[in-house]
Symmetry: C2
Subunit: 433 residues, 2 copies
């Protein structure tokens, strides 16, 4: 048909390498299904290393440069693929590429979650596409599904296991019965967790991804700073064990829901009922659970990271952008956030809670506890376990009815002050179906 | 922006009613996200009933007619939605609508699985779209995912639980321990199975859906007659119980795989390992499990039928077609089957098998059996259960290694002839991961 669409990649790291591999290995399938796409330029600051990598994939090392202008300012290039991550200089590169009339594909969740509106509008202005399927859920095509196939729905709730590192650690803690510190070390050893794991472990990565999903599903811009994030550092192996006895599995969930006129968007550990499909999403797998007013409940499951799964999403976007360029259809859709909804502060949300207390092993303790939390409008659904600990203390596990977060926090503070309570060992929210 | 896109629905049954409801209830969301869409005509042969239904949804009954030409031959109508099902007259209606310059959306799996190529080519010829997301998996957006987001992949295997009736019956048999006949009757009572359940129970419905998925995933036209189909009538509660002891769950699976230069496409009961994500897809839920060379393994899960979930997919297609008309982008893609692959006869496929025999309760029987099947190149992986039955017969459960179907069938015939074998009670294929 027409001349091939030329692609330039910035960043030949893990995802960049995967993208180059898929574009090369599957070129004939892609061409037969859609349009001819040729990888014409690669920019990487470690140019020698990148040339060796290109060669090993079967790509002419001569197309590798360390001058980013050979990609973003090159009139031959139709589509720029940004895979260096982070805000700067990725933001400058993408903005310039769009202004030069290139469509842009990225996997950059940090950038999309903070500058998504700006970049989508810049793309529309330039009559070009800005796609980022790989920014959430790796190979899982959740963003196009929410934006296109499922858009007949008013979404009620989106829930996601969108961080592979924390899901790996929690799955291994559940399977082996061992503790967080030990399992984090193993995840680091296996390459599932970074040397500085803060971003993953404390929920920031998941919060960015949920900001993106919430913005799309609810047509209202949500950025990371609006998303309450609590990580998994405090999850104790005893909590995982008690949860199992109660019929739950502990997962780090992102939740984005319509709550009256507001949105409720947060990331924190959740006790998920064992019969819920999200409970069996294990190890480095991701899943996004969608509840729409027509669709009902649906789930999208797959590998949330990794060289080739992420490249599947990146190359999917490249093909879509290429087809749009060939058919003169680029730049149809810009930012879809036409609403300006408030995100509820966490303290005003309603949840069911599990908490564990270390208490004096005396009678009457339960009555004191029930009174202390009852004074804060928190009512008990079930007291489910009691185990005498070596220290002479007893362990008490309580599940509440659905109550306001602020009341729950006040109740926990009140418990902490009771003489009979040694300390509040943990509090985990419980998924209500 | 522009004038609204006008939609005409043919058939105001369950899915037609759901489609009218979603178009009406979610009109403002759809318009804000995409383009204005107005439901301008409905045709149904039971016109009085349809007018009453329209009125109950809040639609002007005056737009309801029993003259199909008011929809397909009406210059005001931009998109025709065919929801009467079956081959004729749906085929004539769609062909005419396309020739009159209308884009067409349907949920008609019977028609798409037999006439998909013809209709996709007719749509391309007419410069219009022909969409059928709802034909497979109800609300699950699997067709657009395979055609678009995931098309960077060479697919290795697609597996689906794509028939809700059989999945409901098997799930209930598993949960309650009761038999097929009893659970079929209950499914009929609850409206999950039709009065004549043949289409579902014998795997024909699933075969049609797998023909559609295989055609899309492997870019080669597969029609129902090429798909081996075996249903669930012969599944015994004892097999479900033995399967569970062996760590499996019995599911009716559609499987479509690349096998060398050929395709392997079939529908039959399968022993699915309990840890596989497909094993926990229960009741009327559907799921499609995709294995692609870049993506790896992914699963799409949701409600496979029902008024509103199916309407979610139909209206998603309507919005896509409407947007394409507004942006002058209709008719870009036609039939995607550019290959002509052979579908392997079932007897040449390789599988692992579970089978159950009723045998004389004597020693030496096992040696005779091993010899009889060994002579047919079938080797035993495990003999796993033995239960003495009232009649004086014993029950023997055998799992084989991976062997050729033809050899397995010959082995079963040989067993049947042995004096020590009363009868072969069952044979179910086992999923290899």
């Amino acid at each position: 048909m027409t001349k091939p669409i030329k692609v330039g990649i910035i960043g030949l790291g893990t995802i960049g390498g995967g993208t180059a591999k898929v574009l090369t290995a599957n070129a004939s399938t892609i061409s037969a299904r859609s349009v001819d796409i040729s990888l014409a330029a690669i920019c990487d600051k470690y140019v020698d290393q990148a040339r060796a990598k290109a060669k090993s994939i079967g790509i002419d090392p001569a197309i590798v440069t360390d001058d980013v202008n050979q990609v973003i300012n090159n009139p031959e290039i139709d589509i720029v693929v940004e895979l260096i991550g982070g805000i700067n200089p990725a933001l400058q590169f993408i903005t310039k590429a769009l202004s030069k009339g290139k469509s842009v594909v990225t996997a950059n969740k940090d950038l999309v979650s903070t500058q998504g509106a700006l970049l989508l509008n810049a793309a529309k202005e330039a009559n070009r596409d800005f796609y980022f399927e790989a920014a959430v859920g790796g190979g899982i095509p959740i963003i196009h599904a929410l934006k296109e196939s499922l858009r007949a729905n008013n979404f009620r709730r989106i829930m996601g296991i969108v961080n592979g590192t924390t899901n790996y650690i929690l799955s291994q803690m559940t399977e082996t019965g061992r503790g967080f510190v030990e399992m984090l070390a193993e995840a680091q050893r296996l390459g599932y967790a970074e040397a500085d794991p803060t971003n993953d472990i404390d929920g920031h990565d998941a919060a960015r991804k949920m900001a993106i999903l919430a913005s799309i599903a609810f047509n209202s811009r949500v950025t990371e700073d609006m998303v309450f994030a609590e990580g998994i550092r405090h999850i104790d192996k005893y909590d995982i064990s008690y949860a199992r006895q109660l019929g739950y599995v502990v997962k780090l969930l992102g939740i984005a829901a319509q709550d009256g006129e507001d949105l409720d968007v947060r990331v924190h550990p959740v006790l998920v009922p064992a019969r819920h499909p999200l409970s069996s999403v294990n190890d480095a797998f991701n899943a996004v659970f969608v509840d729409g007013d027509a669709l009902g409940e649906a789930m999208f499951y797959g590998r949330g990271a990794g060289e080739l799964p992420t490249a599947s999403a990146v190359v999917g976007d490249i093909i879509m952008a290429a087809e749009n360029l060939v058919n003169n259809m680029a730049g149809i859709s810009g930012c879809s956030c036409y609403k300006h909804l408030n995100v509820k502060p966490m303290r005003q949300t309603y949840n069911k809670y599990y908490f564990r207390l270390m208490v004096d092993d005396r009678s009457l303790v339960l009555a004191q506890i029930a009174q202390a939390i009852g004074e804060n409008q928190v009512s008990i659904d079930a007291v489910v376990q009691k185990r005498v600990v070596d220290s002479g203390l007893a362990e008490l596990v309580v599940v509440t009815h659905k109550v306001m977060e602020e009341n729950m926090q006040n109740a926990l503070a009140a418990l902490q002050k009771l003489d009979s309570v040694d300390h509040v060992a943990s509090m985990i929210r419980v998924l209500e179906e």
